[in-house]
């Protein structure tokens, strides 16, 4: 996107934003889910953010922001196993424009971290940006945190996420063999250390435990292309469906609930969403969610 379209888009959005927020407030507690569509991925990412009131609503000048994409797999971006690099970059740029002192982008990868960072395209997309860090996980930074959850009493979480002022959750929407889909609620696993395989025996409860303790301030789901089968890492382009959508919400459960519909599923089909909703972490009833298409 060139600067002109960016200015136009953000100008239009900033004019619209106050009305949208007012409307959202008028609707009471109804959570807002913004869905932007288009082939210019940075532009739709910005549109979605602006539809929620712009990044300034979340990021204050001087803040340290963590932007947490999926980049856990050694797969190139068209295979939809990792968040699209252009979406990540647009989110990072918005954070910087809102005055962030530092933006940290990382994931605790499943494949070799060096290959994941390179092949996801995310490290490359952020290269040379000032005040942006795209570091691999340093194990010494995991810190045992008391969760007092129903399944997890305590777990190791990454201190860069814990100490950040703002945590922005930027998952890609994809299929998952156990949890059916992996979206915002599951993306939190990237800040979890330890034997992560252990939590699979009660994945929905465990993820609700972590999300209850550690809240995403903003969830931006990359549905520019989604992985419909053989998730979470896929590898076959035939399993990828291009949707050209970016979804944003303050309510991670609502964002997940809406994204579920893109797969032809209902939020109630996804145990993680249900568990989080029951725990009071957000709204999953599509009737009670306000969807704004931009």
């Amino acid at each position: 996107m060139d600067r002109r379209t960016f200015l136009k888009a953000s100008g239009a959005a900033s004019l619209l934003a106050p009305t949208l927020i007012r409307e959202a407030l008028a609707a009471g507690e109804q959570p807002l889910v913004a869905v932007a569509e288009g082939t210019d991925y940075p532009a739709i990412t910005r549109k979605a953010i602006n539809a929620l009131g712009g990044m300034k609503r979340f990021v204050k000048a001087g803040d340290v922001v963590v932007v947490k994409p999926n980049m856990g797999w050694d797969r190139s971006s068209e295979l939809a196993a990792n968040t699209h690099p252009q979406v990540v970059r647009a989110v990072v740029e918005e954070c910087l424009a809102a005055g962030a002192k530092k933006v940290k982008v990382f994931d605790y990868t499943c494949n070799d971290s060096r290959r994941c960072y390179v092949n996801s395209g995310i490290e490359g997309a952020l290269k040379g940006m000032k005040n942006v860090e795209c570091k691999q996980i340093e194990p010494e930074r995991f810190r045992k945190v008391t969760l007092n959850g129903r399944f997890l009493k305590e777990w190791e979480l990454y201190d860069e996420a814990l100490t950040a002022n703002v945590y922005i959750n930027v998952p890609v929407a994809k299929h998952h063999g156990l949890s059916k889909l992996t979206l915002g609620l599951k993306n939190i696993m990237g800040i979890m250390g330890g034997n992560r395989g252990y939590i699979h025996r009660s994945l929905d409860v465990a993820l609700a435990d972590v999300n209850a303790h550690f809240k995403s301030h903003l969830t931006i789901i990359d549905a520019t292309r989604i992985l419909t089968a053989h998730g979470p890492q896929g590898g076959n382009i035939a399993d990828v469906k291009v949707l050209n959508k970016v979804i944003a919400s303050v309510d991670v459960v609502a964002a997940d609930a809406f994204a579920t519909t893109l797969f032809g599923l209902k939020p109630a089909d996804i145990p993680v969403t249900v568990a989080a909703h029951k725990r009071g972490l957000g709204e999953m009833d599509l009737g009670k969610i306000r969807v704004v298409k931009v």
Binding site: D74, C110, N111, D112, R114, R115, V118, N119, K135, E138, E140, R141, T163, H176, G177, L178, N195, R196, G197, Y198, H200, R201, S202, L203, H230, P232, Q233, G234, G235, N236, A238, D239
Partner: protein
């Protein structure tokens, strides 16, 4: 060290060796265009043992042929101008006080090492890498010294974090620079690390008896080069020690034991030429083979050496059957026998392995497999898109493969152990293995099954199963299995390692999907 051309060349090649060594690592690119394997590819000992054992030709070793020819023409210059181990000895020897040479090592000892190695190669036991000087150096560096360096740096870096926390970030650029250029990414501690370092230290410590003790009395590569070099066109004048001086005996690092310069021992360092107080020494091209001495060592040594090789080759083949089932070789190795004939045991594949999946075999592969690479899935798995081990293998024992081909090469096949695997043994969901299986169509799949839980209540769990036809045995399933006891899925070696079929995207191609 004086600045003679030989010395400068030695230092350049040592530097080159070390640079290539640290470059033998994934540094953000799928290809490594220059690796330390270059040193093995010019190594005539590797060439000869390969030709004898594999009884076939590989273009990878063309540089070693050139080295053989140039040694025939010029002499044993490799030892005095190139060999990094020789250079290290030359750098250290002045600091080691000398006693007297060991008499037992003189004479034919070196042939008793070289000949059995070569004759064993002919009988399919290629152990020359065990005593190859470059392999000795490389293994000590790879298995102990480099990881130790990495470990020290990382422990220091972690300690700094415990001390000053976030403020450590200010130093991060410096640390990252060192880490990205010099240090190993993973500071894996390997089995046989200590042994590898002790062997190198023993070679260095043997300088205590005389200069280049290893090179002149033991090194099989040096012996081979010396044997080739005795036909060289260079003749040193005078051939022996001068009656009025005898300084050559002190100046020469490798010869003059018998008061004369043995062509097979001369490493062409030119120390005698540069150091001669009278300026009498010269090296002249001549075309006489008269002084080359006998073509072969004495018959007793020759036959004895050959026989020793045969005797070594046969009992070394013993392998315990229960170990064989877990002998997982790097990707692309289809035949264990062909692999053993070609593997130099240099350790490069283990160094470069992205996930530290490869380890030197200590006892697992029998004597004949000592130091050969083994994939140990519980410690690391073969990364689906990585082809580095084949790229750095000096002899093609691990073939160079395009990534599409490599993904289909079979290392082994995974097998579930239902006594351990959670959905079977404890009736709870898991499928971490399925999630990690890199095959796009999933060699591990699961089906929802109604079972009686351990509490007696009926429930559904996802039970995994293997689609053996498309399992390439990469080992990630065993690696990530969350069980702390033993893995609920394990990879076993298979004899038929023909590549997995072109994977069909059609679900109907799943032989198990009918139900």
């Amino acid at each position: 060290m004086k600045r003679t051309p030989a010395r400068i060349s030695q230092l350049i090649f040592l530097a080159l060796f070390l640079i290539l060594f640290v470059r033998t690592e994934y540094r953000g690119r799928d290809e490594i265009n220059a690796a330390v394997n270059a040193f093995f590819r010019v190594d005539p000992l590797v060439l000869f043992s390969y030709l004898l054992a594999a009884k076939s030709w590989t273009w990878l070793l063309l540089p070693a042929v050139l080295m053989t020819l140039s040694t025939l023409a010029l002499g044993r210059f490799f030892c005095g101008w190139i060999c990094p181990l020789g250079t290290i000895l030359d750098l250290l020897t002045s600091r080691i006080r000398k006693t007297a040479p060991i008499r037992a090592l003189k004479g034919n000892t070196k042939y008793w090492l070289l000949l059995p190695l070569l004759s064993a190669s002919l009988f399919n036991l290629n152990l020359s890498g065990l005593l190859d000087p470059i392999a000795i150096l490389l293994r000590a560096l790879t298995f102990l010294l480099h990881p130790l360096m990495g470990l020290t740096a990382r422990e220091g870096w972690v300690a700094l974090y415990r001390l000053i926390g976030e403020r450590r970030d200010a130093l991060a650029p410096a640390y990252n620079l060192i880490r990205n250029t010099l240090l190993p990414f993973r500071d894996t501690i390997y089995p046989l690390a200590l042994l590898s370092a002790v062997i190198l230290l023993a070679v260095i410590a043997s300088e205590r008896f005389e200069t280049r003790n290893w090179c002149r009395n033991l090194c099989p590569l040096g012996t081979l080069l010396g044997w080739l070099g005795r036909f060289s066109i260079f003749k040193r004048l005078p051939t022996g020690l001068c009656a009025d001086c005898g300084a050559c005996r002190e100046l020469c690092p490798t010869s003059f034991d018998q008061g004369r310069l043995d062509k097979g021992e001369c490493v062409l360092c030119m120390e005698c030429l540069n150091g001669c107080p009278q300026g009498r020494v010269s090296f002249r091209p001549t075309l006489t083979w008269k002084e080359a001495g006998p073509l072969l060592p004495e018959r007793r040594v020759l036959l004895g050496g050959m026989a020793a090789g045969v005797l070594l080759a046969i009992p070394a083949r013993f392998r315990a059957p229960e170990q064989v089932s877990r002998l997982l070789r790097p990707p692309g190795v289809r035949s264990e026998d062909e692999f053993l004939k070609r593997c130099v045991r240099c350790g490069e594949c283990m160094k470069v392995c992205l996930k530290s999946a490869l380890y030197p075999a200590a006892w697992q592969a029998g004597i004949e497999g000592f130091y050969t690479p083994l994939l140990i899935p519980r410690l690391g798995y073969c990364e689906y898109n990585c082809t580095l081990c084949g790229q750095v293998c000096p002899t093609g024992a691990i073939p160079v493969l395009a990534v599409e081909t490599k993904r289909r090469e079979v290392i082994g096949k995974a097998v579930f152990d239902k006594n351990y695997c959670l959905p079977f043994a404890r009736k709870i969901d898991c499928i971490v293995c399925e999630e990690h299986c890199p095959i796009p169509e999933k060699a591990i799949r699961s089906r929802e099954t109604t079972v009686i839980g351990l509490d007696g209540v009926s429930k559904t769990v996802k039970e995994p199963y293997l689609v053996e036809e498309i399992c390439n045995g990469c080992g990630i399933c065993e690696n990530v299995c969350p069980l702390e006891t033993k893995a609920g899925i394990e990879v076993f070696a298979v004899k038929n390692r023909s590549p997995i079929s072109q994977i069909s995207a059609e679900p109907s191609a799943d032989p198990y999907s009918a139900q």
